[in-house]
């Protein structure tokens, strides 16, 4: 979080006139808004499962591979290489992890994933850093090769073995252990089998916002598989390494200003190799986490998560905390589809998004030059919308329908006026998103899983389309560099 906060301050234009500025870091405010919105949605829908420790647990397990892939993308792009091949490296990771976890044990499976992914990463480095091949082209080629290699390995190693076939490895040799934090979540300590479990206790209470946060912390500290612990540690470590060490500075310099770095004696090509080795290793580790979660390698296991990792990189503005937040969001989407009664949970999540967007819209409007009419109309729309939150089925009642239509139309009208006056699309975009989700929440009984699966990709598209100007990728990522070149 601190890293993101620093970036925000750096990026914020100093000369811009602003009606209002929040004190402190924007990302902390966003986090707080998110927690409040989800807590509100939980209370309005009477659906405690949305922030229960078990939902967060599932979300964490689905988020970890995406997050690790995203972190892999981060190391690549920070060192100056665009890595479209994350998906392929992840596939390599699953094949190697499936092999070593079955041949040896789950820990070796993790290592195998890293090795497999690293092979892909180094191949990409050879093509891009040494030969100067277009990064997209090389990454794409790796995505083509990797599934073939994985299937070839499955053919040689798994087919004909007990429980194995061309499309899946035999089960793992043993299990990956779990970790429970003592004192906070009842983990064992000094020979005691259990200790206090204050987090679990608070999470069950249903206290506004407090229990929701406790649910998240409880999930982070209870029966967490060791490979997920590794993932969390790697994130914290990455923030430190990339922004607090000389190594990190040199790595980032290779992606920002390779010529300048070169003139100071940094071996740019070597750093791009290192960046790609770490990138591939992390992508492979992401694959290994999938393998351990499923107990075996399966063909097509990655299912586009490498590309989702790439998406978190963009949504997270090329920063580890941003990647983690993006992956957490995507994992949460994915996680709730795996819970009991996913339809209602998704609706609750949509409600949380509606609240969040409403808060964001209010924030944007407050920053505008004020006008009484704007405030009145928006407040009126908000009251009407809120009054209608608990209506079970909208389609049966014409009067309600008119109320909703009126509220939505007036909101959109105000947003259009503001957008036209300020020549920016922010307010209008948020208002449209808010209206669409609000109407969806009221008129739909259940959201189909296909749309939930689509959501991360659409969120990414919206983020790049609307915040494109404030996103800041590494300056020279994806541009081939040759030693001695004055460019870059």
């Amino acid at each position: 979080m601190t890293a993101t906060a620093i970036a925000h301050d750096e990026v914020a234009p100093s000369g811009e006139r602003r009606a209002m500025r929040l004190p402190g870091s924007l990302s902390l405010w966003m986090l707080a808004a998110g927690i409040v919105a989800v807590a509100l949605a939980r209370i309005i829908t009477h659906n405690d499962d949305i922030t229960s420790a078990s939902t967060f647990g599932v979300a964490l397990r689905t988020a970890a591979p995406i997050a690790l892939a995203g972190l892999g993308g981060l190391y690549a792009e920070r060192s100056g290489t665009i890595n479209i091949g994350l998906e392929g490296m992840m596939v390599m990771g699953t094949a190697f992890a499936g092999w070593w976890a079955w041949e040896f044990n789950p820990w070796m499976g993790l290592l195998g994933g890293v090795v497999g992914g690293m092979l892909g990463g180094l191949l990409h480095a050879v093509a891009t850093a040494t030969f100067g091949v277009n990064h997209i082209v090389s990454g794409f080629a790796i995505n083509i090769i990797a599934p073939g290699v994985a299937r070839f390995m499955a053919n040689l190693l798994f087919e004909g073995e007990q429980g194995g076939s061309l499309t899946n490895s035999p089960g793992m040799n043993g299990e990956m252990g779990t970790f429970t934090m003592p004192v906070l979540s009842g983990g064992p300590l000094f020979g005691l089998d259990t200790t206090w479990d204050p987090l679990g206790n608070i999470a069950e209470r249903g206290w506004f916002a407090v229990s929701d946060v406790a649910g998240l912390l409880k999930a982070l500290t209870t029966e967490l598989r060791f490979d997920l612990v590794v993932a969390v540690v790697l994130f914290v470590l990455s923030i430190f390494v990339l922004w607090r060490t000389a190594f990190g500075l040199r790595l980032r310099a290779a992606g920002e200003r390779p010529s300048a770095a070169d003139s100071l004696g940094v071996r740019v090509v070597a750093y791009r190799y290192i960046g790609m080795a770490i990138s591939g290793g992390l992508a492979g580790l992401a694959g290994a986490v999938l393998v351990i979660g499923a107990n075996r390698y399966t063909q097509g296991q990655t299912g586009g998560r490498g590309f989702l990792g790439l998406a978190t990189l963009v949504v997270g503005n090329w920063r580890p905390a941003g990647v983690a937040a993006g992956a957490g969001l995507f994992g949460f989407f994915d996680g709730i589809t795996q819970r009991l009664d996913p339809g209602r949970l998704v609706l609750a999540a949509i409600l949380a998004a509606v609240i969040l967007l409403a808060v964001f819209l209010a924030y944007l409007l407050v920053r505008q030059p004020r006008s009484i009419a704007t405030v009145v109309v928006v407040a009126g729309a908000a009251v009407v919308m809120y009054a209608l939150f608990n209506v079970e089925n909208l389609r049966d009642d014409t009067l309600l329908l008119i109320g909703v239509a009126l509220a939505v139309v007036s909101l959109l009208a105000v947003a259009t006026v503001v957008a036209w006056r300020t020549r920016t699309l922010d307010v209008l975009a948020v208002a449209v998103g808010l209206s669409v989700l609000y109407v969806a929440y009221l008129s739909v009984d259940e959201i189909r899983s296909e749309f939930v699966f689509m959501a991360p990709f659409i969120v990414t598209l919206i983020v790049v389309a609307s915040r494109g100007q404030t996103l800041r990728p590494p300056a020279r990522a994806g541009i081939p560099w040759r030693k001695g070149s004055q460019e870059g």
Binding site: I144, R151, G304, S466
Partner: protein
């Protein structure tokens, strides 16, 4: 110049082929088999007219996908979204085609129009995002591929599913009036395997692509925009308009890709879970291998389809068929590396030649800045 073009056009792919055969030989050897046996089996598999027809049938949609990608490549646009564009187009065209009853030619025309329009529309999203919001088309097309996949899954299960099929998710089968005829004999020689008459479409597209790029004002604008955006802008070419037109055109052609299997291939005539969904990626590979050249891409498509046909023989000699994908993948990677190496060598040679002509005793910097400093 001619020597270097020759080098880039033939020497590089030949070298890449050698490297790919080397890599896949090693893979065969790792699997505990004899590479010679493998390649002999593969060669004997393709040595028949039946195989020739099968290879051509397979290569046709590949080639169309390659043209779709190549148009974008010509102005440095990566249309990674061909997959989503053609699959969505094929699904909606299949659903619409099965829902109506029309006379033969009209029926096919309607299906073609729907496919082209859907492909173009889906490609218009990244086009608009890039032209007006500066969104990188690589990111947006990748995201849209997954949106398309899920959208198709939803539409297929909820709206266009053939109710008579309970086990498989697929659209209703197209009636005869929506099917292209198949050729069972050519020049009096009867074919063991019917030739799908989608081939003329591919040939026409290839010729059209060549004429458009090299003989039209638009093609000139396109190539200038790709090779030197600054010069293009100075010449009054509107970059925004070029992005929109090129991307949408690429999507329109992508829409045709799925029609190969859909209306010409007797194993389909419908959209379902069995429908191929990765021709776009193949097209990308072929556009890279064929260097966006209409003949080069055709050759690459034939090579690709030949490898796929040939590797089927490996099953008979107990060698993993995945060698085929490894062969294709290493060929692709080796080829793009070889092209880049050749480009660097010829660039440096040209720089030296220019330096000699100018009479300077010191060669200018190895890389000439692409854009004049602002």
């Amino acid at each position: 110049m001619n020597r270097s073009r020759l080098l880039g056009g033939f020497a590089a792919p030949a070298l890449a082929a050698v490297a790919a055969i080397g890599v896949s030989s090693i893979a065969v050897w790792i699997s505990g088999n004899d590479p010679v046996t493998a390649f002999q089996a593969m060669l004997s598999q393709i040595d028949s007219t039946q195989s020739a027809t099968l290879i051509v049938n397979r290569a046709v949609p590949y080639y169309i996908a390659a043209i779709s990608v190549a148009i974008g490549f010509k102005m440095n646009l990566f249309n990674i979204g061909v997959n989503g564009q053609y699959v969505l187009a094929a699904m909606l065209a299949a659903a619409a085609g099965a829902a109506v009853d029309l006379p033969p030619v009209l029926h096919i025309a309607m299906i073609v129009v729907i496919a082209v329009v859907v492909g173009a529309t889906w490609a218009a999203i990244p086009a608009v995002l890039k032209a007006y919001r500066g969104v990188n088309e690589v990111i947006s097309t990748i995201m849209l591929n997954y949106v398309a996949t899920n959208l198709i899954a939803y539409l297929l299960t909820e709206h266009f599913r053939n109710p008579e099929q309970t086990n498989i998710r697929e659209t209703r089968v197209l009636p005869d009036s929506a099917r292209l005829p198949r050729l069972t004999s050519i020049f009096g020689v009867s074919l063991d395997q019917a030739l799908f008459l989608f081939l003329p479409v591919a040939i026409a597209l290839g010729i059209g692509y060549h004429v458009l790029l090299n003989r039209s004002r638009f093609g000139f604008d396109l190539r200038v925009s790709g090779e030197n955006p600054t010069a293009a802008r100075a010449a009054g070419i509107n970059p925004r308009k070029m992005i929109l037109i090129t991307m949408i055109m690429s999507g329109a052609i992508a829409g045709l890709v799925g029609l190969g299997p859909l209306i010409a291939d007797n194993t389909f005539y419908k959209y379902g879970d069995q429908f191929p969904t990765t021709f776009g990626f193949t097209g990308l590979s072929l556009a890279l291998l064929g260097r966006n050249h209409p003949v080069g891409m055709a050759a690459a498509a034939i090579v690709w389809a030949t490898i796929e046909r040939a590797t089927q023989a490996l099953a008979f000699v107990d060698i993993p068929q995945e060698i085929g994908v490894i062969l294709q993948g290493s060929f692709l990677l080796a080829a793009v590396i070889a092209y880049e190496v050749v480009r660097r060598i010829t660039n440096d040679a040209e720089t030296r030649a220019a330096a000699r002509q100018l009479g300077g005793d010191r060669p200018p910097p190895a890389t000439v800045p692409a854009e004049a400093p602002a």
